[in-house]
Symmetry: C2
Subunit: 341 residues, 2 copies
């Protein structure tokens, strides 16, 4: 019960218990290898000293951490939340700890975070999307840290991925929109240069146009950042131009919800005057009025399987192949035929 500031070490515990440091270490790591009476003495000492092992030292000596790192573009909205929560729950169950960092959708920050988590001894990494410089992949290979990409699927990419086909999923939704009779389509997307999910989703819409013999270049596309306010602003812009779209397809639900809010503020009726669609099917989609037509992504399943896959990669040190999950188109109230001309 000394009140001085002093952090007890393994050595202190050993002395207090009258054993060697090796024995204390064994008590902590493989208790069955030390006889009960000794073990009791040691744990008594540990408690009375308030000892807690130093992680850094431990890692250095044992060279593994049971830690998985995840770097997501943002924590600010719910896109990644559900999947990540499932990811973490599964990891916990298997005895791993999750460390999360966010990159604010910026490649250089992501790179910095990757290095930081690797340096901290992450045994494996979960990343979002395939858009990153190849030297950082090289770095991961050199360091021998397995990495898994989620939220997208690309069997040809350098890193294995577990996710869905953003392009195909969006094409399916766009096909519905076109079949309803819409011909002037607006798109609100995130930056397609640095965000492969956004890029692929836009490509999916273009694919659908081609199939329907429409000129994909006629799409009115606005690129912005993910966020409700951005969606609102982009909607206002699209809708106030001449020849404005009768359907606005958004790169995700957050943008779509922003668009719907703006529509309401401008007294534009959804879906009578204009249809709006999203992507992700986060909880939000069912909360707004009318409910949002969107693409359902199996976030929890993806998160759980990502955890299993990544642990597998870490443990077996072998490569795994990419997994494609399927999505569903969710038709809800925000999509209807275009108004009569």
């Amino acid at each position: 019960m000394s009140s001085q500031r002093f952090t007890p070490t393994l050595n202190d515990v050993a002395q207090q218990a009258g054993v060697s440091t090796a024995t204390v270490s064994r008590c902590l790591n493989s208790p069955e290898r030390v006889i009960e009476s000794t073990r009791n003495k040691v744990f008594e000492a540990i408690n009375s000293l308030g000892y807690s092992p130093n992680f850094g030292a431990r890692v250095m000596a044992a060279r593994r951490t049971n830690t998985i790192g995840a770097i997501i573009p943002t924590m600010e909205n719910a896109i990644f939340a559900r999947g990540l929560q499932a990811f973490q729950e599964e990891l916990r169950m298997q005895g791993y700890t999750l460390l999360v960092a966010s990159s604010s959708y910026q490649q250089d920050i992501e790179e910095e975070q990757i290095r930081s988590l690797v340096a901290r001894g992450a045994d494996g990494l979960l990343l979002i999307g395939h858009d990153r410089k190849s030297d950082i992949c090289q770095f991961l290979e050199t360091q021998d840290v397995p990495a898994l990409v989620a939220w997208t699927h690309d069997a040809t990419a350098r890193l294995p991925s577990i996710g869905f086909d953003n392009r195909k999923s969006m094409q399916a939704l766009a096909t519905h929109v076109l079949e309803m009779g819409h011909r002037r389509i607006g798109v609100i997307s995130a930056d397609t240069n640095t965000n492969d999910r956004a890029r692929l989703r836009v490509e999916g819409i273009r694919d659908a146009c081609r199939v329907a013999h429409l000129n994909p270049d006629a799409l009115q596309i606005i690129q912005t950042t993910y966020g409700i306010e951005s969606g609102a602003k982009a909607f206002a812009e699209l809708i106030s131009g001449p020849n404005h779209p009768t359907a606005i397809m958004c790169g995700n639900d957050v943008l779509a919800v922003g668009a719907m809010k703006q529509a309401r503020d401008m007294a534009i009726d959804v879906p009578k005057d204009v249809s709006i669609t999203g992507f992700d099917d986060i909880e939000l989609a069912r909360v707004v009025t009318p409910a949002l037509t969107t693409v359902h992504v199996p976030h929890r399943d993806m998160g759980r399987r990502a955890a299993q896959t990544l642990i597998n990669m870490v443990v077996s040190k072998t490569a795994v192949s990419s997994v494609e999950l399927s999505t569903d188109t969710c038709l809800r109230g925000s999509l209807a035929p275009p108004p009569a001309p």
Copy 2:
């Protein structure tokens, strides 16, 4: 360009560059102390080897990490997202890295995460709320890791806090509700046993009742978990009882939005038939129809100031005093006088 799996160390770099390990270390930590020509040689070696410092070793030798840990109850919804994002941005600006862990609103998991982050060398910790066992506070003191509590304010608590008065804020909102004429009030709250914010908010409603000479025990309170679906379910329960409330006050916006969704599904008009209020003023609140009456919490400001305060604690190793931020009541469409009897 060797392809074998081998992680280069400081020593390898030193040899490759023909200098001592000390010089390499200096290049990394205080480059101005190394002459340019040497520095170039070293960085060349670093790049050609793909060297990346080992964090554990570094921490052990230098005994600080420039890392701040945060443990939040959940990542699953947006309650903590905005504040945490601001927290992280401020930390980054000051050269600190943020590590986030989540506790799923469970005390024992929180404790485990605290130990884990401390063991990983977090220089300081951000925690949410004051409800935790005292031995874990003792642990933090022994380990000499400063911790700051956010999302609530309590000048008398053991740990310093930066936040707002949950009780007073909710009382202010409840007073509005009562002034509008509501007499039968329902409450949807998170678990008040383990969540001090939830407890204080309910207390605030009771305070308002007392002031209005109403019996606080007449409140119809349902405790549930935070989540849209939970809110919906609780709403259905409250509304279908006899003598059902004319106003339902929710512990946060997420619950409130769930309640509104359920109202819509049950064809109950908000606010004509029943009023609904939230707490937090997350983006969601302005997206639903009608917009949600709630308490505005200055999340970003709180996050930013928490970062500054915590860094200050870490650097100066001195205690700081708690800071109280003020909240605003946001009156929006979801609150109206009760229907005529």
